[in-house]
Structures are given as C-alpha cells and as structure tokens.
Amino acid sequence: MNHLLSTADLKLDDALLVLDTADRMARVADAPVRKLPTLRGRTVVNLFFEDSTRTRTSFEVAAKRLSADVINFSARGSSVSKGESLKDTAQTLEAMGADAVVCRHPASGAPHRLASWVRGSVVNAGDGTHEHPTQALLDAFTIRRRLGRLDGLAVTIVGDVLHSRVARSNVWLLTTLGARVTVVAPPTLLPLGISGWPVEVSYDLESVLPKSDVVMMLRVQRERMSAAFFPTEREYSRRYGLDADRAALMPEHALVMHPGPMVRGMEIASSVADSPRSTVVEQVANGVSVRMAVLYLLLGGSGAERESS
C-alpha cells in the first residue's frame, strides 16, 4: 500500500490487514503508556483545505501515538485559486520531506492529484463528494468489534448518498468485506448512476429496518432543501429520519451508526443517538486506532515498493 485514496480499490486482504492492525493498535490504547516509538523520525502533514477538527484531531492523535512528527497545514481560505495552491502546496510539502500527507479537500479527486505530485504517501481524509476511506474503515472496525463479523451482515445506509463521501467509501468497503448494503434515500439524493453499485436501493426505511444488522445514518445538510432535493425538513424527517418508533423496528442486536456531526431531530432522534445500540462515541475512539493502523501500514516499513514504483 503506497497511498490510501479510496476503498473502491482496496482489496479484501488489505482491508482485513487494516482492521487486524487496528485491533492491535486498540490494545495499545489500553496500556499504561500509550506512546509507541514506531514512526520516530517520520513526518506526517495534516493538509486540510476544509475545516474538520474531528478528523484532523483523530489523525493527529494517531500520528503522535506512533511518535511521528505532525505538521498541521491548514490551507483553507485561498478560495480564488485553489488549484494553483494545491500544486504549490504539494511542492512545499515535498521540500519539507513529508513522509505522509493526510489530505482533506472540497474537490473530489484532489488526493489523487496530490499523490502524483509528492513522493510521500497520501491518505485521503475526505475529498469532496468522493470518498472518506478512513471513516469507512473505522465504521467497519466498529461493526466487527460489536457484532464480531462483517461477512453476511445487512447494512443499511440512510440519507444523502448523493453528496456523501462516507456512503461511497462504506458501500465499496463493506461490500468487499462481505456485507450486503442497502441504501435508503429520497430518489433526489441518490446518484443517477447508482445502478452500477453493488447495493439494493429502497425508498422505504420502515420496510428495511427489520432486516438490518446495522443502520448507518448520514448527515443531511439543510441547504439541500433550497436546491429542491426535498421539500421541507419536516417531510424529510418524517420519511427518512430515525426516531424511537422506527428504531424499535430494528432487531435487538442491530447497531445505529452516524459518522457525525449529527443533526439531531432531523435525521436522527436524540433518544436513538444516545441509546445503547448507538456506536457514535466508540466510533471516535476507534477512529484513532484505525488511523494508527493506516499510518503504520503506510510508513512502518521501508517503503521499498514506493521507491521502485
């Protein structure tokens, strides 16, 4: 693995290796001394073109636990010529000797471009409406920890699939790991080309819930209303929100997940978000373990593959 750009091209063996490695990392979190010398002397740059304290902090904690040097490079605000600044920034990072660049960018594919401009490893920390691979890996990790497996599980993803990088990464990864994925959304919030995805599509949340081992709620941005994706917040919530009554339709063991930040009352009721079946809090802790695993697998060896390719 040279880069982690998407889960669409992540093979089963690699995906399992990340999850298994994350398991080991999670145990380190239980040790009295949580810091490992593994990546001493390596430099990880957090290159964030969008605000995301949550994701950036998670990567930062992960890198620091592995003793890497962390540079936070906030490139937000250069809105006029983002294109120029991305390549210029890449050259700056090269000069700094970044071993890994963790990149969050509003444009789909920006980390792909970055990977062609820098020698170090690029980790996609969310690009536009394309992918967010470490979020999907931590979701898969969380499911496996709670339910013991992924193979054969029925996972339902609900909400703004069209604009969701989390949904895309989860669809590919969970399918690779053997889960059956169903997406539920108003038709306006599904991509027209979804027929090419390995998913079932439903417009009826209540019929899908009883058959779901995992229900993953996506954030719905209120500004979508103005673009006529759905009429009103209330109508959306009535048809696609996960309230207590709907949650009661789920099997007893079933999990409720949310990548955060949540819009309580819109896509998810507080009572559901805070219920024992909710994994929202452990998703955060697991995020650190998974990101440690990714950084270790990218930077923990000689990188001989990278030099030769």
């Binding site: 294109g83 792909h112 690009d127 080309g193 090419g196």
Partner: protein, 451 residues
C-alpha cells in the same frame, strides 16, 4: 513571383498516383505520375529559371501520400486576444497547418469577446499576418456572451472579416426568445447560429458525464438530456423561423437521433462532432487528470459508437476540433478547478483515421467531405469545390494537404506546435501524419514542418 511546384506521385483521395503542377495559386496541370515535369508549365518555368527570370520549379516527392482538400475547422479557440499565454493566432494557426488545416473558425470567447466588428477584424488581420491558414472569426451571438442582448451581428457580417457564423460557444444561448431572434436576424445575410447545446440549470456545477462513473467518482453529473433538450428546442425554432442552425460538439447518442429527426423534417440543421468524442470515453476521468476534462464531457462507449455512425451516414455533417488550449496552471489542478478543453488541431485527422477510416466507416472521399467540404459549406468558405474529387483538378485553387496514411507517431504533449500542452493523446501512437499543406498554392507545411 512564386515558384512552380510539382507534387510528384500523390494519390488524390487515395486514388491513382498523379503529378500535380501548381502555379499562380491554382492547379495548373495534372499529369500521370512521373509526367509532371514534362508539362508545358514546368518546362516554361524551367526555361525561365535558366535565364534567371523565374525561380526554379520546386519538386515535392509525394510518392505514397494521399492528397486531401485543405481541412476546415469550424471550431477553434485561438485565445487571442486575452490569453496569449495559452495560444496566439500565430501559434494556433501553425498547429492548424501542421494538422492539415487551411481554414479555421476562431471562436468568439476571447477577452475582449469577439462581439464587435473591431474585434473580429483584429482577429481576421492577425490570421492574415500569420499566414499559416485562413482565420475566419466567429462572432458572438450576445454581447459579452452574457446571453442577454444580441451583439451587432450585422456589423460583424459586413466587416472585413465577413462573419457568417455566430456562436456564444462556451455558453449556451439558453433563453428561447433570444435564440429565436438570433436565428431570425441572421437570415438577412445567410448567417448561421452555432449553438453550444447545454441547458444551464441542468448542468450547474457539472463536472463529467452523468452516470455510473460520476456516481462512483463523486463528481456532479452533466446529463445527456441537458444537451438533447436544447437541440430539440432549437431544431423546432429553426424549423419555425426557417433559419440555419449548427450544433457544436454533439456528444450523445440521443443528440444524433434528434438531429436525424430534424434533418428528416427538412429543417436546415447541421452538426459537428469532435475527434475526442469519437474516441475517448468517461472511464478516463477515473484518473482525475483534468487533461480529460472537456465540455461537453467525455461520454460512454455507446455514445462514441452512435457518433461514429452518425458521422458516417451524414447525420453529423462534419468533424470540428474544439481545439481549446489551456495554460498548465489551468490544468495541473484538482479536477473541479481545472478549465475544460483539449488540444485538437494537430491530431484531428489521425483520430478520424483511427475511428472512421480504419474501421471502414469512411473512405478518403468521405474524410474530405466531413473535414473540408461540409464545414466549408456550413461556414460559407469560398473556393471550396462542390464535390470531393474536383479539388485536384486543373483550374481550382491549390488548397490541399498531403497525408502519409502509413505513418505512426507517438504524441508528445511537450512537442506540439500549440503554446499549450493539454492534449489527451500524450503517449498514444496515432495513425497518419501530415507531410505538406498548401494554401492557394503556397506551401504552409513541407516535410512535416512549418514553412
């Protein structure tokens, strides 16, 4: 006095080898292969050179080469005035001549926009000065391409540039009433409106063809219906007001069907397809390399197939390059920030050979029609013969290009004549190479190099 030129052993439209003798800008004699130097014109010139009154005849060995009429491109972005860092009239027309072109239509989306007689005359004169091929400016339909008020179409038509084609290319004339008025207005001087068919509301923020690839790549989709809806509307308007409509860069199978329908109605609708839409498909976008970003976007395999069929049966009248040079800072970016467009002039004929000739869909006469005669008719280019065969007959202007159909060349983006390097064919091996181009008897390219 220019020298007499003997083009020896060339095969017009791939037919039998001939010697063409060019004098005073026209084809002065046609002889069987090897006989050109024995014609009276050459003998006279040779005698004149012996006593120093005339230059010696120039012999061009064209054995094995195919002669085609000089190619005509209805859709070129020369970027001058305004973005001379990306292309100039001089550099763009060099690229054109090297690609076998003798006339290019320069699109209006310059800075300032070509929406007045002054700007179109400036572009026209720059073309005359460069001398590599004829430059026919396209006038803007609306002032500043803003889609609000008509530009001075009549003034541009009666200017020295004699504009006949008008287009807001890059933008769609989306207002139906404005489009109707434009179509009506240009009837006065037999003008044609070249429409960039793109319903703007359906393509807000669009980045690539809408479909499975866009869904996977997380890029906002540019649906085929946004093109097709405008074509349908404008075909109806054209039929209604009895004017001439030309559809730029047709990119979808549905568009081909609509144009076929409009033509069957007897309406005067013509259409062009770009080389890249004949060959390339949306799968290339998976690299997120903006060298593949273009508007309209690369479509699917089924679309390229329909476009090839439409070009073969004449539903699509011609090939036009939509040559769109961009400076590297506008391409070496993330996908969304990059400007759309690809180079095309130097590779267009090769792509047509690969997609249409090698597949048996067009013969050389067909290529001559789709790349020279038909666009000349649509753009009202004078001096173009009515049928493909007559371009190499005695008495017609010697405006032609010589192609080595057996040549194979690897495209190096950094070795193109254009000032920009945004060719999507970098590293590909393409068939065919232009060896010489003549504009009214004057060589603009010899031995594959600009004169």
């Amino acid at each position: 006095m220019t020298s007499v030129i003997v083009v020896r052993g060339v095969r017009p439209l791939g037919g039998d080898a001939r010697d063409l003798v060019i004098a005073d800008g026209t084809i002065a004699a046609v002889a069987p292969a090897g006989g050109g130097e024995r014609t009276g014109v050459v003998a006279e010139a040779a005698a004149g050179s012996a006593d120093g009154t005339r230059p010696a005849p120039l012999v061009v060995d064209a054995t094995g080469l195919v002669a085609l009429p000089g190619l005509v491109d209805l859709h070129t972005h020369l970027r001058e005035p305004g973005r001379e860092d990306a292309e100039t009239v001089d550099s763009g027309t060099r690229a054109a001549a090297l690609g076998g072109y003798t006339t290019v239509f320069a699109m209006a989306n310059t800075d300032p926009v070509a929406d007045t007689a002054g700007v179109v005359e400036q572009v026209w004169r720059l073309g005359q000065d460069a001398g590599h091929c004829d430059v026919r400016p396209v006038g803007a339909v609306t002032r500043g391409l803003a889609g609000e008020r008509l530009a001075e179409l009549g003034a541009m038509a009666s200017s020295a540039a004699a504009v006949r084609m008008f287009s807001d290319d890059g933008h769609c004339v989306s207002d139906a009433l404005l489009m109707r008025r434009a179509l009506e207005y240009v009837k006065a001087f037999d003008g044609v409106i070249a429409q960039h068919a793109e319903e703007p509301r359906l393509t807000a923020g669009a980045q690539m063809n809408e479909g499975a690839m866009a869904a996977r790549l997380g890029l906002p989709g540019w649906p085929a219906v946004a093109e097709e809806a405008i074509i349908a509307r404008d075909a109806l308007l054209t039929g209604h007001v009895g004017s001439r409509l030309h559809i730029c860069h047709v990119s979808t199978a549905g568009s081909v069907e609509l144009i076929r329908w409009a033509k069957a109605k007897g309406w005067r609708v013509t259409a062009e397809v770009t080389p890249h839409h004949l060959l390339l498909t949306e799968e290339l976008v998976a690299s997120y390399d903006p060298v593949y970003k273009v508007n309209p976007p690369l479509r699917t395999e089924a679309d390229t197939e329909a476009l090839r069929a439409g070009l073969a049966d004449g539903t699509i009248d011609c090939v036009a390059t939509d040559h769109a040079p961009h400076a590297s800072e506008d391409k070496e970016t993330e996908w969304a920030a990059a400007r759309p467009g690809m180079l095309g002039l130097e590779t267009a004929l090769s792509i047509v050979i690969q997609t249409m000739v090698e597949t048996g869909r067009l013969d050389w006469a067909g290529v001559a029609d789709r790349m020279a005669l038909a666009p000349a008719r649509i753009g009202a280019v004078a001096d173009m013969p009515r049928d493909p065969a007559s371009f190499a007959q005695v008495g017609v202007p010697a405006t032609l290009t010589l192609l080595d159909p057996e040549a194979r060349r690897v495209i190096d983006p950094l070795a193109v004549a254009s000032r920009s390097s945004n060719t999507p064919y970098g590293g590909r091996t393409l068939p065919g190479a232009i060896r010489a181009t003549f504009l009214r008897g004057r060589p603009t390219v010899l031995d594959g190099k600009i004169i």
